[in-house]
Symmetry: C3
């Protein structure tokens, strides 16, 4: 049993005793449910090779941009944390982090990390300057044992299925290796075609060349390009994919006549692509992807509204995904109409929307999802994947969209051990929300109990066809 | 007494015992206050003819787009619910609804419907597949009795006054009939001129023709058109109207010199009206309407910010108001300035603003209403007419606008029996909010008691001059 | 001891007994901390001359636009309150206010005023029509005593340091007089250059002339103008300033090549300045100011997003700051990038952002401040300087930015006696927020105790280098 001073059994539950008691009961019924992880960014190589994770810093600091961006905001250089700097001493990097653990007070990172420290590694003192080395050694030593290899952890945390995310250019060798290994864990891919859909993606034209080589299609002709997508989608589906994922700067969609689409394709695959053409092409491709989803049954996800690599200096020095992606206001009502006009009434099509712009929850997304058969709302995402963020999501979407136009939880992470920690937070927050509705006599307790299981498990399986 | 398992006496009150006790006391003083319903969309024909409502499906499903949009979002065809399909079996439609009643968990529809089932019809089991027929029969049988005729229900629910909403083209025959019937219920109209103000309204030019016929004015000349409005406003006032209502895509207003307004009028009543001209004309007409309100004393209401008929397929098949209206971001600060420059400082003019864009509560609307003498804030509207929506409204407007720049509750519904249910929700939520302020020692209990009555009754009467 | 019916010792704390008990403990440790007031609009003449404040109306009504805008919104003419009308009888003005004190129910003004009435003046009955004269006399009589002179009140309220805000054109004579007086109170200035940076400010060109006279620089040449800023900043720093402050309509920044900046300067100092040039110049000047802050160490503050003087009639009659400033939506992500590209990674530069657009808290500001070393978040500002506003600020920023990228409290007021009242509200609300995190087992109690002191005292001192 975990020391309650480190990880209290009632953590995150509402404080009122009536509500807390109901929350405890609801949570007791979901705590042991398997983890369904339909969207994330873990590395399939972990389970293909089953090699040990290296040390505490490599496991917990380097892949977690939530952690290193906070340290950076308070003056710690990324080089000193070992980011883009293989010469850094991982123990020293760990100390820099440990000494500043107070910076994470009130953040979800603190909650996830405390869970990992206590639940995964059995540590029962708090991280700080004085315990930095103890932590580093305890974690690093554990990682050298078989119990902490990727497959063992997958089983220990009762993961029923996990989806990774790959580019169409990926050969999915790791997924193939997992399947051929005879190991029983279900690790599937998802089709994330941004590198061959976004004309502003680094190396877009080269990527189309590779896509052509992989598929035998002429990816510089519109029809060949579309055919190549169909082939890669089919290959991804064969490797377990049940979904596609699209990370666009906006939610804009378009539905151009074929000749216009073809002309646009010619422009964005040529020289000097105009920003407006790039945006229109991404918009058109969302509708094309929706059409292919209607054909092949892959669930479609849209993650829009981020200004990527906002910090120019850091991007030039370290590349993508270094904690400098900043959300933007995002408009859905006009933006989605062309796609919804075509496919929004299709009851066999599932289109899951995410947002970082919480103002759209009650104003746009819940009304849209509470009307269109194809639309569902993804959970609170990224910066909002947090206790308060989850609470706001339920409070602002449920009254208009209900629970059944949502799709359960996504952990959406690169940090493997945070997966069970994040699912635990989501289950606790949902149970707390449901418990309040029960205590306010807005829901019967048996309904809340059903909903707790639906939100923790069933809705994700159903929505993602898992 | 209603079974507390179905309709708990403490429902919607905060759970904390201290707050709940205060909320109970406050609510006990407002529960029996008459209903003042200053804005809604009920059908005056009900009280003119006093004919029985037909069956459960006609009464509770067909007029309630909150209900059928949710069913539609989960794959139920509107035809099967009897929408636009007189051949549908109402009992089968009811079953489709009953089997899916779990979809409404956590929504205000569930709260309103449970109230109607328990309070109006005395049903004490929950709606579901197994009770569908029992419900259908109980309700339908009751509707055949005199106690469930429109006038009887009006009296049973202690409605002091209800306003319906009519187009200037309406002859108000039903309102006349009510007055001439000798029945004592106060049913008044409100002037909703969108069909003759919005150049993009279906049949706008034809509507102007009808308006000319009704008033003897030349409605294709600017001065004649304005004179026709004055005449119809006077006629509506004679038929009890104390307010006008305007449903515009934006809150934009304009105050053009007469010659420009006249030229604009010529353009929007001609061929090939440009979108920008239509928008500018609506903007100009809000200021014209404000000027007429200063003259004739009618309270002015603005309900902006909705993308109407977003679902093209449904609009083509079923027409307006089929659950596919989606809110948009709405800007008020620049938009309202031309009108406020003219009339905002007029202490005799009342201009009530609504929004579906909750981001404007604390940022724009409360600061505006907390300054301009003419401005008042309407209550949480439509998708936000819900427990959480009401709570957010009070939390985000009160500190800047106070309570006395708000106007009490509007039910704004087509679903007759939801009126007492909705007023009950509003009263409970306001009492809960006030109770928290008392328990946090931000308000004395006697002040909260006064405010509870003001919010439930006095403010609406005063603001709407009822 | 203050009568608990007037000023309850538990006011503003959460109601749940567990949370309230923790909040009480946290608050007990911060109640006696000195006040650090790093940003506000008090008048340094008060402490330079130490003259008595006149009467209740002059002290509490005239400088407080929160108060008189609310009265104006409910039909009270500003003239009758003595605004812009020296002939008004201050006792009659006070009565107009007292009779309408119920309008302030639920507002922070009510909380601040009740604090002042009870704590500063020892009054233990509520303000209203029947107690108006008693209040007026009690307050006015007290103000005639030495205990209520500005310096005595400064000491009574344990103000460690207070910053006023002055234009570069100010000769800072009052600050000089304070220093030369031998009195120990620390009153410092802050550099607020809007009148010489904003080409749309009344008298901009004349102001540049005065700036040239004060500095001996040619303020109609770009280099001379910049040199003049450097000189005045140095002078302000000499008079204690540790910060600059910028009140712009938007957060837009620019980083033009020198020749373009010079050409722009020529245009905005010429005739017929275009709005776009004015905006671009303000944008450029923010980056110039940031560069000077990197040089001279002054902390930079940005207060954007207000439509000033929205009510044309009132502005023409009474001038600025008459309660008709209305917030606007404000965009930060694109707007700040030019400045952040230059200086955002500088760990010695401190750039404190404020907003009136709460939608940016979780979407833009917390992600930016949780990444860039130079950025910090100012507290809930102006209309959001209120219990609910503070709660939303913590709930929407903490999870992404943490506590340590925020800077404690600013009172930002012209109403002197509201300073201790406002700090008390902030301390109570922060203790209540921290107490909830403790009771939800998201924070240890010792951490909350540290944080309470940091939020009430340390962070402001550190961020503003006080």
């Amino acid at each position: 049993m975990v020391n309650p001073l480190v990880l209290h059994p009632d953590r995150l539950f509402p404080v009122d005793p009536t509500i807390r008691n109901i929350a405890r009961s609801l949570y007791a019924n979901v705590i042991d449910l398997p983890i369904v992880s339909p969207h994330g960014h873990t590395d399939p190589e972990w389970w293909a090779t089953d090699n040990s994770f290296g040390n505490a810093t490599e496991l917990l600091l380097h892949p977690d941009h939530y952690v290193f961006r906070m340290l950076y905001s308070q003056g710690v250089e990324l080089e000193d944390l070992g980011i883009g700097n293989p010469d850094a001493d991982p123990r020293k990097s760990w100390r820099l982090f440990a000494e500043r653990y107070h910076l994470f007070r009130g953040t979800p990172s603190r909650i996830w990390l405390d869970w990992v420290f206590a639940e995964s590694f059995g540590i029962d003192v708090q991280l700080g300057a004085d315990t930095a080395d103890f932590y580093y050694e305890t974690i690093t030593n554990a990682l050298a044992t078989d119990a902490f290899r990727p497959r063992a952890l997958f089983e220990r945390y009762n993961i029923e299925v996990i989806a990774t995310t790959e580019s169409p250019l990926d050969d999915l060798r790791h997924h193939r290796a997992i399947r051929e290994s005879g190991w029983g864990g279900r690790v599937i891919t998802a089709y994330r075609p941004d590198p061959v859909i976004d004309p502003e993606f680094e190396g877009f034209r080269d990527n189309l060349g590779v896509l052509g080589d992989l598929t035998g299609e002429d990816c510089f002709s519109w029809q060949g390009y579309l055919a190549a997508h169909r082939k890669r989608r089919a290959f991804f589906a064969e490797m377990g994919a049940t979904s596609t994922d699209h990370g666009h700067p906006t939610a804009r969609t378009a539905d151009l006549p074929t000749a216009e689409a073809e002309a646009l394709f010619a422009r964005v695959t040529g020289e000097n692509v105009r920003a407006e053409d790039a945006e229109l092409f991404r918009a058109q491709m969302l509708t094309e992807m929706a059409g292919m989803s209607v054909e092949d049954g892959l669930v479609m996800q849209l993650h829009p509204g981020v200004y990527r690599n906002h910090n120019r200096k850091l991007f030039e020095r370290f590349g993508r995904d270094k904690g400098a992606d900043i959300p933007l206001p995002c408009e859905y009502v006009h933006a989605l109409r062309p796609l919804l006009d075509r496919f929004g009434n299709d009851t066999d099509f599932t289109f899951i929307l995410f947002t970082l712009d919480e103002t759209t929850y009650s104003r746009e997304l819940a009304p849209l999802a509470g009307h269109y058969p194809a639309l569902k709302l993804g959970p609170a995402w990224w910066f909002n994947d947090s206790p308060e963020g989850m609470r706001r999501f339920r409070e602002m979407t449920t009254e208009t969209a209900g629970f059944y136009n949502t799709v359960g939880f996504n952990d959406d992470t690169r940090a493997f051990l945070s997966i069970p920690a994040r699912h635990d937070v989501a289950r606790r927050m949902d149970c707390g929300f449901l418990a309040r509705l029960v205590a306010e006599h807005r829901l019967d307790e048996y309904e809340a109990a059903e909903l707790a299981v639906d939100l923790a498990y069933n809705l994700a399986k159903q929505a993602y066809k898992l």
